[in-house]
Amino acid sequence: MAKQNLPSVLMFGWEFPPFNSGGLGVACEGLSKALASSGVPLTFVLPFKIPISVPWCKFVFANESDLVSEERMKRLFAGYQSHSENISIKNTVTGLPETISGDLIERVRAYAKKAGSIAEKNKHSIIHAHDWLTYPAGILAKEASGRPLITHIHATEFDRSGSDNINSEIFHIEKAGFEKADVVVAVSGRTREKVIEKYGIHPNKVKVVYNGIDFSQNSASIEQNLDKLKRGGNSIVLFVGRITLQKGPDYFVSMAKKVLSCEPNTFFVVSGSGDMEEEMIRQVAREGLSDKFIFCGFLRGDELARVYKAADMFVMPSVSEPFGLVPLEAMISEVPVLVSYESGVSEILSSALKSHFWDIDDMADKVINVLRHKKLSTQLSKNGTEEVKTIHWKKAAESLIEVYNSLNHGFSLPIFSSAPASASTQVSYF
């Protein structure tokens, strides 16, 4: 088959490394890079101007473009405007860069206001929006250019807050994003199920594209203090991630207690911070495990690499994890991993141990066995390292291009061959 014209993509993101607070930025970087290297021309839109440039795509910042009238906005968001007064969301939860303050929903709206004119000024055949923060922008861009919209879901409101505690305004923004989209892309099968069940979206419209990771050898040297512990005959079990309800830190502590009953020479290292950090430290103290836990705060880059080097086992007991990139980092560093079945990444991993997050005995049993049987840990780390090499962003990009092409199919006319203004007829109702 002759290679067909690849679509050009207008991608709406919220953050981008190194200006990111979470996985969303990492995923956007990995995906955009892999798409570009597959030959897909890409314009990446961000809400705020940040000093960033990458070789593979052009950045557009919303706060530099023309304004859409306030009235158009009101009409578009009439459905959930009334709730806006009560909304206040912590920055760390949503991925909003720390430097930006102010009401989040207002920022999301301000972003969306610029989307129409951005769509008119930048040539594209597909609109691709990442998570609810960018869905209003994606919807308005679609209204402006008439191009198909893909809403990519990395984490739903249910994943962030647990079922009882969801913010209904955000829920409605997500729902609108899914409904207005031509295709919804979910980062795992379990996220896809949520989109279908909790938001009532037709199954045919929701596709799964798993995240990837760039493999690069961890050549860091082992963290010194942990190295000393290991030389003294101790094992290291590692937790990496935000210390929030959804990551299951409380289950990690309960598991640690069980492990220590059989393997007393074990230390539990926690890297991360979050709103449950204090509660976790208190729980550790209550259980009398304070001398077996090491809290090292939020680590990144080389510091984290050095801790990975020291770990004998990595555990991710997430209660709800749409994907979960961290175990892949551990696998790159040749650390045996245990992930919960409640994580999206468990759907694609073969060379990993798996448990339900609530099954403390099962998790502890597996950790103890890995610590006891050198052969088991070697097999897991060897096979895991091989496997993680196959989970690359290129694979994700290929699946996405398939989705793009399925949408592109309907257009026989060359897209935006004339002036961008031609799209204005489709947004006449504004």
Binding site: S350, L353, N383
Partner: protein, 410 residues
């Protein structure tokens, strides 16, 4: 035919608390009773019915079965109808039963004494249930070597089954009988793997150029060997009929018409392995210094002992045996033998795990690592039981040494 006793989810915290390793009752693929019920209904019972009808219609139709002791004892316990239907088949006189290790183990490789014990246990089981004594040996998963042939000969067998692997036969044909190197009185019957696998693996494969396979077509392929061989040895899992190849593939119809299709050529007939050994001379020596088997594409031992998990598990179980066989604790010994079944090590195979291959299909565990963990936890409990048994024995001995105390002597 074989069904292992699968080890339940057994955690480190169960060690010393419970020793019912094979008692899963979850209705999943770890539940041994559930599997026996399912496979009996889907495969053993309907296949036996077809074979019995075939024998009644064609008195020259013959079949042989090698049924592991663990399969037989599970039928007795969970599906007695299967035992009855085999008794009926054996009573026709057209069905031969072969010898193997009771526990479907790898003991032929690891421990000769244990190997002989398990073969004897199996012979006794056949005698008890069917009143027959086998004269042909087939080892676990068709594992074979010069040495195993020699052992079988020394145990009095006249024939032994093996895989007709290309790397063993070279240009020679599996349709002749061969004399294993270093033996005098035993003949090797080799599996015609192409024709066997046409039924066992390819029967329902729509991408196969010969699909659909009819009994007539297959009969033609068998007949084509006339004048160039003595016997076409079709060896396969009995679960091929109804379990690996489902009923809706037409596999039972195929089996039903196979006798007529083959007997349509007057030069063909059916023989059991012992009749073949009786009737045909050997066509040369067969030299197999390294083990062969019928598993995977490698046809070697790699399905059970290619990675470090498998090796450690095997080393540990046979190491334990050195003491267990000397302890007077029949239940501990029986558990030890049940843990030798080859399937336990097959589940730990990581060869093709990532590609979702046949090991995954057959494994009741989430991964080879989980199979290893459950197994090693059980061995931990076995070790504990062994040391308790040894203590009991010492205690028992010291008690008998103690003279009875009499008041008159005090």
């Amino acid at each position: 035919m074989h069904q292992p006793l699968r080890v339940r989810k057994y955690r480190i915290f169960d060690v010393g608390e419970r020793s019912d390793y094979f008692s899963d009752a979850s209705g999943t693929s770890l539940d041994n009773k559930f599997i026996i019920d399912k496979v009996s209904q889907k495969s053993y019972l309907p296949a036996n019915r077809v074979i019995l009808e075939n024998i009644k219609r064609n008195p020259n139709f013959k079949v042989s079965f090698s049924i592991s002791g663990l399969a037989l004892e599970q039928f007795e316990k969970f599906a007695p109808a299967v035992i009855q239907s085999f008794q009926e088949l054996v009573n026709t006189g057209n069905v031969e039963l072969l010898s193997e290790t009771y526990h479907h183990s790898l003991s032929s490789i690891y421990d000769r004494d244990e190997f002989e014990t398990q073969v004897k246990l199996h012979r006794r089981k056949l005698k008890d249930l069917f009143g027959v004594t086998p004269t042909i040996f087939r080892n676990t998963e068709l594992i074979y070597s010069n040495e195993i042939a020699k052992m079988a000969e020394e145990m009095g067998y006249r024939g032994i089954l093996a895989e007709g692997a290309d790397h063993v036969l070279g240009w020679r044909s599996p349709t002749f009988l061969y004399k294993p190197v270093g033996t005098e009185n035993i003949k090797a019957l080799l599996k015609h793997y192409k024709l066997s696998d046409d039924i066992a693996f390819r029967f329902s494969q729509r991408s196969w150029s010969e699909w659909p396979l009819t009994a007539d077509k297959f009969g033609g392929w068998v007949s084509a060997h006339n004048g160039n061989g003595h016997s076409v040895n079709l060896f396969m899992d009995y679960e091929t009929f109804g379990e690996h190849q489902w009923e809706d593939t037409g596999i039972f119809e195929f089996l039903r018409y196979l006798p007529e299709a083959i007997l349509a050529n007057p030069d063909n007939d059916f023989v059991t392995p012992s009749e073949a050994v009786e009737r045909y001379p050997t066509a040369g020596e067969l030299d197999v210094p390294n083990h062969t088997s019928w598993a995977d594409t490698e046809r070697d031992l790699s399905a059970w002992m290619s990675n470090d998990l498998q090796k450690q598990a095997l080393d540990t179980i046979y190491e334990l045996g050195k003491e267990i066989i000397h302890v007077d604790d029949p239940i501990l010994q029986e558990d030890w033998r049940r843990l030798q079944t080859s399937d336990h090590f097959y589940y730990m195979c990581t060869k093709f795990w990532n590609d979702g291959d046949v090991h995954k299909y057959f494994s009741p565990y989430e991964s080879p690592y989980e199979a290893f963990i459950a197994y090693m936890n059980v061995l931990q409990d076995m070790r504990l039981r062994l040391s308790l048994a040894k203590k009991r024995e010492e205690h028992g001995i010291s008690l008998t040494r103690l003279k009875p105390l009499r008041f008159s002597e005090m």
